[in-house]
Symmetry: C2
Subunit: 450 residues, 2 copies
């Protein structure tokens, strides 16, 4: 029997996930818009036989640009360029269902999937926050439940569009003068609550059928959505107990939704800070914390917690009377995670900011390569993860260190492939089926959409 | 004094602009989705020191797929991949102002401009037709004038977004912990008739400031729009007289709009069909015509002329009582061009379809390389063009033939550069200024937007 293997997803972000990473001597402060930087990262991840690259996104400029690198190359555009610089690795772009049209976005993912030979993935987000809404003619963000209802219809329409060409719609009969078979083109004729989409896509069905569908929200709405649609889930979990509970819950929700629980891969985020000794790893972590500008952190925390500016005291604790998650319209699960982290570990605001600086709520772990591999193996074997989203604190050095020092340990333990082998689609890498075409086998909706 | 030089723009389209091109033995019927095909075309055009590549677009699947290759890679996605495969050539993507959001589209063009080192161009279209409208929740296309009003506001908002970062907004002061200067970020705070866009773009200002702004509509609304915004104009002109009239009119409209008429480049489309002798060129043209499936052509012509199916007789002429252009809501200038062509040359429907098959109303010219060069030179020196949009009937062979045989003649006559020389932005290739930032020099609106 083949040993169960880890999946690894590299979450790329300009100079790294730690907010102070750009201040280190080795960091290039213009990395956010340098294609060469991202090509280097992609190639390092391919040396580490990662399954995929991952890019976050929101259609807005976040807060103050004083604090850290802001702005980025648009993810699908950047991943298209990276598709030409890589051969095997998957390319997962975040894109919003609240601020896109299904026709436009379905085209772009199908195009990237074709150009990359079946390596496209879509991290489906509903985009919290009024700032993004105000860039699209709205005064306030749509309500959380409303955003998820729109997202569900968006995915249904997108699936119809991706299925609108049968795989063999192009007959290319030169002698008869018949290029395509109109009977194998299926206009969605969709009229729903949020979208009307009449015609077929103007891109043929792509190698994967649909891009790999990824999801990252851990609210109730988010988990229900993931159980129905997602094939991979990126999640922030602070402890192995929380991660196991999340994993078990999501797998059983997926089964209850009528899907194979093996067809949803759970990939918690981890921020590894490496050192050749434990002391060196802690020192590296300390260097990063020492570069944090705490004023920025306070402002950001006040914004997340929906507190008035000036409420928080750096050396005090969070207020005891914070509202419950259910009263929050924004990033619900992030809100709860931060509040629980502060309370569980009795952190001051300063300590909390230090902990969040590394990966905004993701599991930060400083240690030797063996210790990081141990942590990964223990979560993996205890039913807390199918793999991990690696979020290096500093880039490219943190990804390079992970690939040079942790990857060999994981390979030696038989937990990670040693080479890619033949070309595969991203779905094949993650052990997921290619969706059937709903117009070819009606009554058998596509696997992800049961 | 430097000799005035031609600009050349290569309009790429799957197996070529002739509708029957895919049926030729040398054509690859799956070229529409093959990146390798487009990389080959781009490299041929770069050998010919073209200024730019050009891709058409409409967010819909056109009519029947039986007739000719349909569907395509989404243009900005494809051009991003081509940016990594080329070094000098400009990359012009068509995108609709009716079916995009300014924030999303401005990001994508800025990202392509950064990735390509300043080689992005945007062919601004308003997208005619109900089919496209029905893919975006509308029942019918917006009225022609309404589409142009929206396009004007779209460009104004996009310019604000492209200017929302000053060029030196990133200060990257590691010691002080200040990455960007918030005072050099300018949120548009735009509230208009069609769009509300509050915040700054999440992409820094790109090498060209704005992508090269191209326009292709020749209706009254289209020409007014071009005079105000466009820096290059792609137009269909059948005769040198018509082309001169158009050229003169557009330059004077541009001057009346307060802009330098030298800052709008007129690039009529030309479909060259080459042969080593005139007889061979005509034979090559005949081979293409012989591969046309005329039933398809009749249906398409009836659709353009807004006639009921079955109205037209292949061997008859167009009806005498066609409505005037002013009564048409769709592609107005194309409508008039086709009707006038048929009447001027007293063409039967069959002959008209043969003429349109090559380039849908663009100037088709069969001849030897010397004759094609003569035609180009004569239009260029008679004040009918600043350059040409080359639309090969068959691809890649037609582009290759043009570069191998016509380009050397143009170079020998001093009409075309012999090499690219140092790297330049697309604007620099076309001799156009980089727009000033409207927030840095208020009161001096950006050149393209005077």
């Amino acid at each position: 029997m083949t040993q169960r293997r880890l999946h690894l997803n590299a979450f790329l972000m300009n100079t790294g996930h730690h907010e102070a990473s750009w201040r280190l001597p080795q960091s290039e402060p213009h990395a956010h818009v340098e294609l060469g930087h991202y090509v280097e990262l992609a190639r390092i991840a391919e040396r580490g036989t990662f399954d995929s690259l991952f890019l976050a996104d929101s259609p807005q400029l976040w807060g103050s640009v004083a604090q850290r690198p802001a702005g980025a190359l648009e993810p699908l555009t950047l991943l298209t360029a990276l598709a030409t610089a890589t051969e095997h690795i998957g390319l997962i772009a975040t894109a919003s269902t609240s601020y896109n049209s299904p026709y436009n976005l379905a085209r772009r993912f199908a195009s990237l999937d074709i150009i990359s030979g079946g390596r496209a993935g879509w991290n489906v987000v509903t985009t919290a926050g009024a700032e993004a809404a105000r860039n699209f003619g709205l005064d306030a963000e749509p309500a959380h439940a409303e955003r998820y209802a729109r997202a569900a219809e968006f995915l249904d329409v997108a699936a119809k569009l991706w299925d609108s060409w049968e795989d063999d719609a192009v007959v290319a009969d030169k002698a008869a003068g018949v290029w395509g078979d109109d009977a194998r083109i299926h206009p969605p004729r969709h009229r729903g609550r949020y979208f009307g989409v009449e015609g077929a896509l103007n891109v043929p069905r792509s190698p994967q059928g649909y891009p790999l569908l990824v999801q990252a929200g851990s609210s109730e709405d988010g988990k229900a959505f993931a159980a129905r649609y997602a094939e991979a889930v990126f999640t922030a979990q602070q402890t192995v107990e929380d991660a196991r509970a999340f994993y078990t819950d999501l797998k059983s929700r997926t089964a209850r939704a009528g899907r194979d629980p093996g067809h949803i891969k759970v990939l918690p985020g981890i921020v590894p800070v490496l050192g050749s000794t434990e002391a060196e790893a802690r020192a590296n972590e300390r260097i990063l914390e020492d570069h944090i500008v705490y004023d920025h952190g306070v402002a950001r925390l006040e914004s997340l917690l929906q507190l008035a500016p000036g409420t928080l005291d750096l050396d005090g604790r969070l207020p005891a009377d914070l509202p419950d998650e259910s009263a929050v319209e924004g990033a619900k699960s992030r809100y709860t995670l931060v509040v629980e982290l502060a309370r569980r570990e009795r952190l001051t605001v300063r300590q909390l900011i230090g902990r969040l600086g590394g990966g905004r709520g993701h599991h930060t772990f400083a240690g030797t390569p063996e210790q990081v591999a141990d942590r990964i193996e223990s979560w993996f074997t205890q039913g807390a993860a199918d793999g991990f989203t690696i979020m290096p604190a500093v880039l490219p050095s943190g990804l390079e260190a992970f690939v040079e020092h942790v990857v060999p340990v994981l390979r030696a333990r038989g937990l990670l492939r040693t080479e890619y082998g033949p070309r595969q689609t991203l779905r094949e890498r993650y052990g997921l089926p290619r969706p059937a075409n709903q117009y070819v086998t009606p009554g058998t909706p596509a696997p992800a959409l049961v």
